[in-house]
C-alpha cells in the first residue's frame, strides 16, 4: 500500500507510482505478461492486419488488398464446402459425445466393487493423443483387414470402405472423436451426477416415483450447468477439428473431410496464401464468439443453478 501521508502533491504521486507494491507487482507479473502479450495479444493484432494483405509468409513484400480476402471467402466453393463439412461434423459429434458421456457416467455413478477400475477405463481415452487415435482407427476401419469389418462380417454385413469412402469418412471421424472425448465428458457428468443430493431421490422414491421419472425430473435439470459447459466446450472443439483429419484422410477422400481448420492450414502453410488464411481464421473466430454467445443466451433461459 502506498504510504501516502506526504502533503506535497507531486511527491506523493511519484511515491505512489514507485511504491514497493507497484515495483513488486510488476516485477513478478512481467515474465508472464511479456510472454503472453508477445505470443497471445500481438498475434491477434498481426493476424487482423495480415487478413487485409496478401502474404506468402516468406517474402517481406505484403501488399495491402483491403477487404479482398474476405470477399474472396464468400465466392470460394472450397470454403463453403469446408463450412458444410464442419457443420455436419459438429452437429453429430457434440450431441453424440454428450449422450455417450452421460450414459457411461450414469452407469459409473455407484460405489460397487471395482468401480475405480471401470472409471479409469472410461477416463483413459483422455491420455491418448489425437495422432495415436487416428492411427488406431485407420487400422480398426481398414477395409480389408480391419477389426470393425471382421465384426460386421460376423453379422453378415459386407466390408465397408469407411475412411476411403467420401460418404463414410466423416462419420468415422465423428465416431473416432466421440471415443476420444468420452473420458473428458464422463468426468464432467460424473462430477455433476455426484452433486445430485441423494435425499431428493430417496424422497421421490418413497413417494412412488420410478427411476426413470426421478432421472427426468430431478437429475436432468440439475445437470444444466454441466450440459452448458460441455455444449460450449465441445462445440468450440468441433469447430477447430484438425489433427484427426490430417492423420486419417488429409482432408479427403475427394475433400469430403476437409473441415475449416484443415482448409485454413492448407492455405497458409502448404499454398502459402497467408493473408487469405488469416481472413479465414478471423471469420472462424467471429463464428465461435457468436455461437458461444448464443449458447449462453439459450442457457440463461433454461439452466438452473442450485
Amino acid at each position: 500500500m502506498a504510504a501516502g501521508s506526504d502533503t506535497v502533491a507531486h511527491r506523493s504521486v511519484r511515491k505512489r507510482f514507485l511504491s514497493a507494491d507497484n515495483a513488486a507487482g510488476w516485477t513478478l507479473v512481467s515474465p508472464g505478461a511479456i510472454l503472453i502479450v508477445l505470443f497471445g495479444v500481438l498475434p491477434v493484432v498481426m493476424s487482423l492486419k495480415l487478413s487485409f494483405q496478401q502474404s506468402d509468409l516468406l517474402s517481406p513484400k505484403t501488399p495491402w488488398v483491403g477487404t479482398d480476402n474476405y470477399e474472396r471467402l464468400f465466392d470460394d466453393p472450397q470454403f463453403v464446402d469446408a463450412i458444410k463439412n464442419t457443420i455436419v461434423y459438429t452437429v453429430l459429434y457434440v450431441p453424440g459425445t454428450m449422450v455417450v458421456g452421460l450414459l457411461v457416467a450414469a452407469a459409473l455413478n455407484r460405489s460397487i466393487r471395482f468401480i475405480s477400475v471401470y472409471r479409469t477405463a472410461a477416463y483413459v481415452t483422455m491420455a491418448v493423443s489425437t495422432i495415436s487415435q487416428g492411427i488406431i482407427f485407420l487400422w480398426l476401419t481398414d477395409r480389408d483387414y480391419g477389426l470393425v469389418n471382421a465384426a460386421l462380417g460376423v453379422v453378415g454385413i459386407a466390408p465397408q470402405p469407411f475412411l476411403s469412402s467420401p460418404s463414410q469418412a466423416l462419420l468415422v471421424i465423428v465416431a473416432m472423436t466421440i471415443w476420444g472425448w468420452t473420458g473428458f465428458t464422463v468426468i464432467v457428468y460424473l462430477a455433476a451426477l455426484q452433486g445430485v443430493p441423494a435425499e431428493l431421490h430417496e424422497a421421490a422414491a418413497i413417494d412412488g416415483a420410478s427411476a426413470f421419472t426421478r432421472f427426468r425430473t430431478i437429475t436432468v435439470p440439475l445437470l444444466g450447468p454441466a450440459n452448458l459447459f460441455l455444449l460450449i466446450w465441445l462445440t468450440i472443439n468441433a469447430l477447430q477439428l484438425f489433427d484427426e483429419v490430417y492423420q486419417t484422410t488429409r482432408g479427403g477422400p475427394l475433400k469430403a473431410t476437409t473441415v475449416i481448420v484443415y482448409y485454413l492450414w492448407n492455405r497458409a502453410f502448404v499454398q502459402f496464401d497467408a493473408g487469405y488464411a488469416a481472413a479465414m481464421a478471423y471469420t472462424l473466430f467471429a463464428v465461435i464468439v457468436v455461437i458461444t454467445a448464443l449458447q449462453f443466451r439459450l442457457a440463461r433461459r433454461h439452466v438452473h443453478y442450485s
Binding site: A33, L35, I36, V261
Partner: protein, 307 residues
C-alpha cells in the same frame, strides 16, 4: 450413492429397497452375489478400451497374421521383435528426447512464471493490475488458428535475429510460444486467493520479502494446484501436434506425435510395426495419466461444474 434402477433383482450391497416395483414375482427371487451393474459396466469398459487392446494385440502379430481376414484374436507366438524393429525404423530416440526436453522446459517455465504472476495478481495491489488481467485473460478466447500464422512469423524473427535455436525447425520454436499460458496464471491466481492472508501477513511482519513469502509459504501450501497444473501442462505439451507440424520439418527435431504421424506415412501398411510404435508413443502419457489421474479428474470436474 444413488439407488439402482433394477430393484427387481436383489443386490447384496444392502441398499434399502424402494417399495413394490411391479416386477414379475419370479424375477424378484433371483439374487446375484454381486451387483447387476457389473453386467453393464464390464462390456461398457471393454468397448471403450477395445481400440487400445486391439492395438496391443496387433503390435505382437507377424505381418502374415495381420493380413489375415477375419483376424485371429490372439497371436500364437507374440512377436516382440516388432518393438525393436519399430524403434530402429525411425529416429524414435530423437522423438522421445525432443518431446521430453520440450515438455520439461515448458512445464518448469509455466510453473515458475505462472506462480509469480498468479501470486502478484492474487495478493499485490499494483497499478494497472485489473486492466492487465483482463487483457491477458482475453487471449483465452482467441482460437489458436487465429494466432498461429503470426506466431510463426514471430518465431521466425527470433530465429533470424536472436538465436538460431529459437527459430523455425529448432526445438526452441516449440518451447517459446508455450512458456506461459493465461490459463496457468488464472488457475493459480484462483488458488492463491484461497490461502489465508494471515499466514502471509505474519511472515511479512517478521520481515520476509514478497518473494520469500511466495516460496516459503504459498507454494508449499499450493501443491495440489501446482500438481494439477503440472499434469495438464505435461499432457497438453506432449500431445501437441498442430504447432510442431507447422514449425518442424526435419525428422531429427520432431516430437513424438509428429514423428508418429511421419512414421505412419512412411510405413502405411505395416500394421504390426505401426502398432508397436504407437504403443511405445502412448506409454509415457498413459503412465502420467495413471499416476496423476486424480489431478486430471479434479481439474476437469471442477471446471465443468463452475462453468
Amino acid at each position: 450413492m444413488t439407488h439402482t434402477a433394477i430393484p427387481a433383482v436383489g443386490t447384496a450391497s444392502g441398499d434399502p429397497q424402494p417399495t413394490h416395483t411391479g416386477a414379475a414375482p419370479l424375477l424378484r427371487r433371483v439374487r446375484l452375489p454381486f451387483s447387476p451393474w457389473h453386467l453393464v459396466l464390464i462390456p461398457t469398459s471393454f468397448l471403450l478400451v477395445v481400440p487400445l487392446l486391439w492395438m496391443l494385440i496387433t503390435s505382437l502379430q507377424t505381418p502374415g497374421e495381420a493380413n489375415k481376414f477375419p483376424p485371429d484374436l490372439v497371436p500364437e507366438h507374440p512377436r516382440w521383435q516388432n518393438y525393436p524393429d519399430a524403434w530402429d525404423a525411425a529416429p524414435f530416440g530423437h522423438f522421445f528426447l525432443n518431446s521430453l526436453t520440450v515438455t520439461t522446459v515448458v512445464l518448469v517455465s509455466n510453473l515458475l512464471v505462472c506462480s509469480l504472476a498468479g501470486y502478484a495478481f492474487a495478493r499485490i495491489r499494483f497499478l494497472g493490475r485489473g486492466a492487465l488481467f483482463v487483457v491477458l485473460m482475453a487471449t483465452l478466447m482467441v482460437p489458436f488458428q487465429v494466432t498461429m500464422i503470426p506466431v510463426f512469423l514471430i518465431v521466425k524473427w527470433f530465429g533470424d535475429n536472436i538465436w538460431e535455436g529459437l527459430g523455425i525447425d529448432h526445438i526452441g520454436a516449440l518451447m517459446l510460444p508455450n512458456l506461459a499460458t493465461a490459463f496457468g496464471i488464472f488457475f493459480l491466481r484462483q488458488f492463491f486467493q484461497t490461502v489465508p492472508v494471515e499466514l502471509e501477513e505474519a511472515a511479512r511482519v517478521d520481515g520476509t520479502s514478497r518473494i520469500g513469502v511466495m516460496f516459503k509459504i504459498i507454494l508449499p501450501l499450493s501443491m495440489p494446484a501446482l500438481s494439477t497444473l503440472a499434469a495438464l501442462t505435461v499432457l497438453t505439451s506432449w500431445n501437441d501436434f498442430l504447432w510442431p507440424l507447422i514449425v518442424i520439418t526435419s525428422t531429427d527435431t520432431m516430437t513424438v506425435p509428429l514423428g508418429m504421424s511421419y512414421f505412419q506415412g512412411a510405413h502405411t501398411t505395416q500394421w504390426p510395426l505401426l502398432m508397436a510404435a504407437n504403443v511405445m508413443s502412448l506409454l509415457p502419457m498413459l503412465l502420467v495419466f495413471m499416476v496423476a489421474q486424480r489431478y486430471f479428474v479434479q481439474s476437469v470436474a471442477s471446471t465443468g461444474l463452475k462453468g
